[in-house]
């Protein structure tokens, strides 16, 4: 019997208070995610239960109980306090998927500060933009990644503390602090910050079509949405061994790689080494993983390596599979049923929603290629592309939208309330974030297009904007274009997503060159590596097309949609605003 039981029954009589029942929550308890994911699990008699089974490069392994997680996260919280971190201060976590990432995340929350995890493959420019925007006061990093921080620290006046938590302390530069929580005195007890439902907790950056990335601010009451979806969609139970393959530099890695499973007291595994299909299967076999939450890019890579490889491993422990990041194609669902005897359950949500919104459920019929149905308690709709009114006819493509008010919804874009407002259809021009998120007459528009069928299943169509979804990560074209024109050879640039079999989309750049530069293979590689190092490997164009001129509107705006339509073999649409040749 699955945790959700009957989807239809759950929808009929839903209240978010069910999340409190699932967690056996008592009124008066402190609503602090850091404590809920550690202290509370210990108080309920599970201190000796394994919380984290970690494996890194070269086969290194470490295991932590919930008691370890509690004490070590206390250690981080106390360290932050001793360093002068105040409630509400932003503390960035910039490191690989090492245990310190997971544990410091809880420590930051216990101290009342805001955790700002950033993907460790970000280059110095991507890092700078996000730290500057957040006014980040402290960064926790490692010897491996601190070099990128050093390059930008002089331009970040708010960044007071650079803390290295792993590596050789002798390699630190002046002013940097070394803190190894496992070597520090154990902090058995810590007075956890008494946060409330609306206290800021996690800040995740997300990319848009225009402008630099925006910080989606989440709060401690997000745990209700994350815990309940983890229970009902991922179906985590007492004895499960859970593996979420996402990096906590992105929202899946925190919502479902930390908060969801640990709030429920579940044991989870983390593999922090490069992707190979064999290594992943070996990891499942060695740890007897039962519930596996992964991404279409990885699943398609596994598919590519074939069925025979799967047969070399004992994967019989698996009992439930789910996927997130981009639409899961029907072939991948059918393949997983064939080789694992289990289908991947696709889930749809985004950084801003904080938790799953439209998903496939244990026990509910899967239509391969469909996103599934709205989570109980979520009112979803498809809005007409022009009128923004809800469509009633199945099969009509429109904008995916949700009525505001679910607990894990982002509360604002940090310092950008006007952009937050623009995400709500029907919002008054002067509406404030707290009005918007509680107004059930509005629609929050996700930025994706879909349709629903006669049975109420949703079917993803694509983005409604120019944001590029590569391997489940959103990359903003503006950010790439801004970096491209900083290359000495590039005069103008446009970045779009082009189709890719494994990653859904990869970045393609169109560039015009400055006088004195000619197209060449060496120049292409130089531009690619320039972007990889400054922004991230995800933002690196995998193809560069040299052009004499970029298509623009008469007002001079580059027409990405024209380039994208040509690339995807689609109708180019209305070109009446195109600049004359």
């Amino acid at each position: 019997m699955s945790n959700i039981g009957s989807y239809e029954e759950r929808r009929k009589d839903f209240s978010w208070d069910i999340a409190k029942e699932v967690l056996d929550w008592k009124e008066g308890e402190t609503l602090n995610i850091g404590a809920i994911c550690s202290d509370r699990v210990c108080e309920r008699g599970n201190g000796d239960k394994k919380a984290l089974i970690w494996q890194g490069f070269g086969g290194q392994k470490k295991t932590f109980t919930f008691n370890d997680i509690m004490v070590l996260s206390n250690g981080y919280a106390k360290f932050l306090q001793d360093q002068g971190i105040q409630p509400g201060d932003r503390v960035c976590i910039f490191m690989d998927k090492i245990p310190g990432l997971y544990i410091s995340f809880l420590g930051i929350l216990k101290a009342g500060a805001v955790a700002q995890p950033l993907f460790s493959a970000f280059g110095d420019e991507s890092l700078e933009v996000r730290l500057e925007s957040a006014g980040t006061k402290m960064i926790l990093t490692t010897q491996k990644h601190v070099k990128k921080v050093r390059k930008i620290q002089d331009r970040l006046p708010a960044l007071e503390k650079i803390v290295v938590i792993e590596g050789n302390p002798d390699k630190l530069k002046e002013g940097e602090i070394f803190f190894d929580v496992e070597e520090a005195p154990r902090v058995e007890e810590f007075q956890v910050y008494k946060s409330g439902p609306e206290t800021p907790s996690v800040l995740h950056y997300t990319s848009g079509t225009t402008g630099q990335p925006k910080g989606a601010q989440h709060v401690h009451s997000s745990v209700w949405g994350q815990a309940l979806t983890t229970s009902w969609v991922l179906d985590l139970k007492e004895d499960d061994i859970y593996w979420c393959t996402a990096d906590p530099g992105w929202v899946t890695g925190t919502s479902y790689g930390i908060i969801g499973p640990w709030s429920l007291g579940a044991t989870q595994c983390v593999l922090d080494s490069g992707f190979t299909s064999a290594a992943w299967y070996q990891f499942i076999q060695d740890n007897k993983v039962t519930v596996w939450y992964s991404a279409p890019t990885a699943i398609r890579s596994l598919m590519r390596d074939g069925d025979e490889l799967v047969k070399k491993f004992d994967l019989s422990s698996l009992r439930h599979l789910a996927s997130v990041g981009e639409p899961l194609n029907a072939e991948a669902v059918i393949w997983s049923e064939k080789v694992f005897g289990l289908p991947f359950h696709d889930t749809f949500w985004q950084t801003e929603t904080g938790a799953m919104m439209i998903t496939n459920y244990p026990g509910m019929k899967i239509k391969p290629g469909s996103m599934g149905k709205p989570f109980p308690g979520i009112e979803a709709g498809i809005l007409d592309l022009n009128t923004h009114q809800p469509v009633k006819e199945p099969g009509t493509v429109g904008l995916i939208a949700f009525r505001p008010g679910w607990p894990s919804m982002f509360r604002t874009y940090l310092n950008k309330p006007e952009i937050y407002r623009s995400k709500f259809v029907g919002a008054k021009p002067d509406a404030q974030p707290e009005d918007l998120r509680n107004d059930e007459n509005l629609w929050y528009v996700s930025g994706d297009r879909a349709s629903f069928d006669k049975d109420g299943y949703y079917w993803f169509v694509g983005r409604d904007d120019d944001v590029i979804n590569t391997g489940g990560h959103l990359v903003g074209p503006f950010e790439i274009e801004s970096a491209l024109v900083e290359h000495e050879a590039v005069a103008e640039a446009a970045a779009i997503g082009k189709p890719d079999e494994v990653n859904m989309e990869v970045v393609k750049a169109f560039v015009t060159l400055n006088p004195g530069y000619e197209p060449s293979d060496d120049l292409e590689l130089s531009i690619m590596n320039f972007i990889r190092k400054r922004l991230s490997p995800l933002a690196m164009p995998q193809e560069i097309e040299y052009t004499k001129k970029l298509p623009k509107t008469r007002s001079g705006k580059i027409l990405r949609r024209y380039l994208k339509a040509l690339e995807w073999g689609q109708e180019v649409g209305d070109l009446s605003t195109l600049e004359d040749d």
Partner: protein
């Protein structure tokens, strides 16, 4: 101070070229990692799987070959030796 440690096999031009590219593009100047022909690149984290793409493009352009995606796997790209074996296979 980074160090190039060459493998025990007889050095050849292609291996040196690939090794030099890997060190120039993926290893920070002040890293003290020793990298040789058999050093794991992907499975050790020196080159992440997304960055592998620029290495693939380098090989394709340098050696005028086309590496199909199903051959350009993280396993095949894990060491300079295995990369060179792959390139030679497609050089015909």
């Amino acid at each position: 101070m980074r160090t190039i440690r060459k493998g025990t096999a007889m050095a050849d031009e292609m291996k040196d070229m690939v090794l030099e590219y890997v060190i120039d593009e993926y290893v920070d100047e002040d890293d003290d990692e020793e990298i040789g022909y058999d050093t794991p690149l992907i499975s050790s984290g020196i080159v992440d799987s997304f960055s592998m793409v620029s290495l693939k493009v380098f090989l394709e352009k340098k050696y005028k070959i086309s590496l199909p995606d199903n051959e350009a796997t993280p396993e095949a790209f894990d060491t300079v030796n295995s990369i060179c074996e792959l390139v030679k296979k497609f050089q015909g």
